[in-house]
Assembly symmetry: D2
Homo-oligomer: 440 residues x 4
């Protein structure tokens, strides 16, 4: 690895980019980024220039010698990159809005990561990521691909299973958000909290919580159960309370997304109501983004605006920059990432992607073996893993039946017939982004 | 094993008993049953005498030296038994009716085997079976326990995991019913059909169908998909059609009970309608049984009446007597049974019960290794296995939270809150049969 | 499969062929062989004609319409075959003699299957088998390859791992020999004995012995330990007694070849003495074969001569013809064969070859899951599996270092330095049969 | 955990103790040891007082408030301990000398850890450790047991499998010695070297070596192969060179003890020669220890004398004190220790002890998943694991046959007959320390 670091961010015109830039600025001493390439597609050029302008001002304000390049030429950018981050959104937020709205019509939550919406986000995204990987094999074979693009678990699975590229890490802000939330609830410094994370992306459990190194799981669950603290959630997921006795029996901390599976009917009500009132999450975000970009355009703005946190990507910067920093410096610290299981979780195949606490080294993440997940959680986790695998296969093959199979086995979808109805409407709605399904 | 065989049937007053008696009569040459003990509880004495009378007349008609004993004293019956079959029903059909009706009120299918109803059937039944096992350890330690009592998978899991008794086999008529159904649909002798069965009880797949030893799976699926043949079902499950493309992608033959999971919303509609009209299955069966027992009382009846098949237990006799015969004679033929996995299915723990094609020997069933289930099916199967394990633990411990956990993770139950509502109402409704929960 | 069966036997000029022919004659009613093609190489033409002549006379004597074809053109023979059996010997018995003699010079047993000799037999044989497989893919893609050629475990592993051909079964007469030996020792009909076989080729254990379906393992071990019965061996392995306390603790029946590993020093003494006196096994067999071929030439001979049993291949005919018959007729009976593990033995990788009791169907063998081997045996079995895998890789790649690794990890070889000495001398001695190593 | 740390060292009269004391002194700021209890048996009282005196002087010289207690009352010492370290030697060096000498008479290396000598060291030691564990359950249930006593792998396995105590960590100086040796050979600071350690105690491999975080394995192997650097060994193992081509093919760094298995014949020669000349290692150490204790008696000595390094325990202090410090401070750094596998190495059972890089937390070590060991190494590793398990069972049960089985399956022992001869002589020689075998 060259001493000076070259970062390429695909989907660089995203509103998240200032998070990343802030992270690189903060860590410059240990992670000397020399070049930051922000790549986007023609449709995103305006945003790219807005965000890129802000990025340049932020760096200038910090007085650092980081060159920011804005380009639509992905291959030019990738040449000799050290780290490639992907935060692209095929079909933009309009597509996400469809992912969320169409299933609702059939009485089903869309859920843009592990639900029917996530299936379609995967179908649109995976071929693009596999194309990027092909370019990387040629142009920067030693680089690491750090994928933030959802569905991050499915994308990681797809790259591991359907390409020869092994240097991929899927990254999510859910685990760090859980940690921060717990620290906040307990009123302690986050440094004092440790969590044994294991599961899948957006299907991750905190198997144990530690306070100052001592197990604190039962006490924490007791606090949630008694209502002393909130069970925690994220900006984009309504904070429905867990049934206390369920939580005590589970003996693990669910992540905010688990509400979709353990509170399906209540979440459906919430999402339906939201869709009818303020709009689906995508629609809310579209508005937020519009406001953000207005802010970004302000030539006097030279820092990440605080409003960005409303957007929902809190801690992404920290998670991503920490990860890159730990790889670059071979820190061997522990971070929860999406990587190959390698036996760390017994009931998931060794060659599948899991989201798990891993030691981060210059040679990549090494997952910490947990034995197995609690009995009660294995089925749901394996069901999402089956869904991810079948969905990834559908994305690669463009096979209609395989896509229907993925839709039908999704735990949010209540029957093969409804699965087909949703599938057919969504295939049509997204057809311009699904060339692999044109022959069906 | 003594040359003369002693069979003990617990729940001997069941309407199914004439099936068994017919099976023993047919196989007498190779399986010389000398004593048949029908055991029941005081509440069942009248039925026991009715059924016992018919059994005696059937045997007399056949001219065989089989002694039929009717008793309420289980321990007397068990002494030196060779095979013990269990077909008991704690709380009788009244309890089953509650298992089916109460969940419907909350928008949830009851499903008396793998659903919320099955959870309660397990909670009532498992302690009784574990008591029987304790008696067997003392009174007939060399006997085999052949359990027909539902939920047969959960009961087998409970005995394997919560007792030291290893000589248990769970038996179900679903696989043989699938085989007969396929033969019937194809218009061929059932002998010409072979099926690679693997999965769990009421969650079993035909991984491959063979006609005359050659793989016929795709052709058979094609026939179902094109509507040439029915996908097959059982007396108690409405024959909703599979979505053809789903079936083709699944690349395995689901069992009739899979409709509850792959067609949840349609099945809920059907069950609700039935409950409102002709009554739930339990209520229908109550009427059928009443008629059957009237028939049984007829002193001129000396054979199994054909009306019994309506009852839904078709092939139980064949399955059970074949199994006992193969054990007794060390036939080493292949039968699908519930037994310890031992690595036969990779994604199920080695020490859990599975329902799988096994070689039947005098030393018990030896499962045939399949590698693993198709990817798409693993999650659902593992989810039911998690449910069975947590439910079995709740049955043994009487722990309320554990029961709530089992209810919540059941794939038919849409949330922790609804789970608690159903649980609470059912615990109350069944309280006389759930002494282990009295302290909660 | 065509109704008339076409068998191709590669290495048809082998002295074993009359065994096979006898087997096909005996089973003609259920296995209607219409064509038997005996294939050999130019150096074997004379033997091929001698054996072929006897085969034709045997069939004529039996009055059966089986056409025997003798040919040096393998591809002509393979066209549309139903079963291909391989019993070839690259380098003939001269090569085997070297496999046995060279290691002895270094204080090491040669052991032509799992020892240093076996490594070289594998290096010579595997490329030839992979060539045959390539022809089969083209000329008879539906045929089964039944491989008798040693080292049968390593060859099966090599085909499974280094080709796309899955329809291979490795066959050995050791298990059937053990069964016959036990029946003989106990003075009972072999039909009354069943054995749970599991392990690897020439490294197989009888995990349990049954007499009339009841476990008889301890009694049988007791009989061996007390000297009441012989522990049994084969024509080619001297019958050294097992240490009784070792056998009782092992709680499994070792196969005759296990003497090489559990009695290495005594076996080395025996083999050294034999080499100095009557000659190594290859040298003895060379003489036996010469005599056999003299017999075969006798135009009046129309049956398999009884002297063939001295040769050591007893029961090969039965094993091979039974296997082919069970596949052809989809018998679903149990036979011990070398096939893919698929989870049947926990401590062997799922995708490796094992030798194990399997249900034999028209679609191939389905191994019966045993859970795991006894703890005490796992290491040795895994060591031979590691050896087989590394040896197979060396055979395919012709990599010198890989061959040295295989030699060094073989449990009979006491050091890396001695391994290199043996390897170097044997590579030179066999160089004409090891073209893949010419570039080293 | 109390803020002030109480350490109990069983076998406190060992010559190693000053290493430990030095370690605690160095780390006092982060690991505030307040009490150090040195426990020994009556036969060791004199040494205990000598070593204890030195310990007190060292602490006084350092000016630290650590109380050193010398006692023969183990139970008094254990009360409320935080960490218990075990470095006892049942039968003292006299017993080790027998472990080494007796097998040599039969042509077999004794090897006091994984060989026949190790079997006997295990038989003597395991019951004592299990007694200590029983005391700990009662007197200090929250303490960690850090076991240095060899055979450390077998002892860890025995405690995990034959007691309910889970808070045991087995510790060995081999991995740290390998790291230090490599750094020394390369002339770099040890901080710059990282090694992926995995395997079993004294059977551990460096799967990869990193220099400054980048993989350096091939270059390092190349350097050893070319003779540029030594392959490294320990004070007690002669530095026989690895065959370069073997090493290159192995693609992993063996540990010094691997010479016993990959160079058995040469090691036997060396050990025989040593036994005939300067004496076995035990005999050499006896002399060294005598000299050391003379030094320790010097009232002017207030530091660890440099001669202690000759003794062979280099880095034990660092390894042990680092481990305790990381647990105490929840450092979550990576250290190679003996702990439960939990799926980290696929071909070792999940519930067995392995020696592997682990993240060290206040709640104990968490092994880092490696997938599996290289194919070529699995058999030998599994063989030692089988040996350890059978040996542990023999130690607990005192069963003669089980002990014979352990001896026979040890890879250094060439036959069941020789195994019995060695076993019988050793059982007699050590009988006073093997009360569990008195009834055989």
């Amino acid at each position: 690895m060259s001493k000076d670091v070259k970062i390429v961010t695909i989907g660089g015109g995203s509103s998240y980019t200032p998070e990343l830039v802030e992270g690189f600025i903060k860590r410059y001493d240990s992670l000397p980024v020399r070049e930051l390439w922000l790549v986007d597609i023609p449709e995103g050029q305006e945003k790219l220039e807005t965000v890129g302008g802000l990025a340049k001002r932020m760096i200038k304000e910090a007085g650092l010698p980081i060159d920011v390049h804005l380009t639509l030429d992905r291959r030019e950018a990738l040449k000799d990159a050290d780290f490639v981050t992907t935060q692209l959104r095929v079909g933009l937020l309009e597509a996400r809005a469809k992912d969320e709205r169409i299933p609702l019509k059939y009485g089903v939550i869309g859920q843009e990561t592990n639900g029917p919406g996530g299936l379609f986000k995967g179908l649109r995204t995976i071929p693009v990521i596999l194309d990027i990987v092909k370019d990387m094999e040629e142009l920067c074979p030693n680089a690491w691909l750090i994928n933030f693009t959802n569905p991050a678990g499915m994308v990681t699975e797809a790259v591991l299973r359907h390409s020869d590229w092994k240097k991929i890490i899927g990254l999510c802000n859910v685990p760090v958000g859980m940690k921060m939330g717990i620290a906040d609830q307990l009123g302690v410094d986050p440094e004092r909290i440790q969590i044994d994370f294991a599961g899948l992306n957006h299907m991750i459990y905190g198997l144990n919580v530690y306070l100052d190194g001592e197990i604190y799981t039962d006490q924490y669950i007791e606090k949630i159960a008694s209502g002393d603290v909130s069970s925690g959630t994220m900006r984009n997921i309504v904070d429905l309370k867990w049934e206390p006795d369920f939580l005590k029996a589970l003996q693990a901390i669910p992540c905010p997304y688990h509400r979709y599976y353990y509170k399906t009917s209540e979440m459906f009500e919430e999402e339906s109501k939201a869709a009818a009132e303020e709009g689906t999450r995508a629609e809310v975000v579209q508005k937020l983004e519009k406001d953000l970009f207005e802010l970004y355009k302000d030539e006097d703005l030279t820092i990440k605006p605080p409003q960005l946190e409303e957007r929902g990507g809190a801690y992404y910067s920290d998670a991503a920059c920490s990860l890159i920093d730990s790889i670059y410096n071979d820190r061997r610290d522990i971070q929860p990432v999406n990587t190959i299981n390698n036996g760390a979780i017994a009931s998931i195949p060794d060659d599948s992607a899991v989201e798990i606490n891993s030691v981060i080294t210059k040679e990549g993440p090494k997952p910490i073996a947990i034995g197995d997940l609690p009995v009660a959680t294995r089925g749901l986790v394996q069901q999402i893993k089956s869904f991810e695998r079948v969905a990834a296969e559908a994305a690669v093959t463009g096979n209609y039946q395989t896509a229907l199979l993925a839709m039908t086995i999704n735990p949010l979808v209540p029957s093969d017939i409804i699965a087909k109805e949703i599938l057919d409407e969504m295939l049509k709605a997204h057809q311009e982004y699904l060339p692999q399904f044109q022959n069906n």
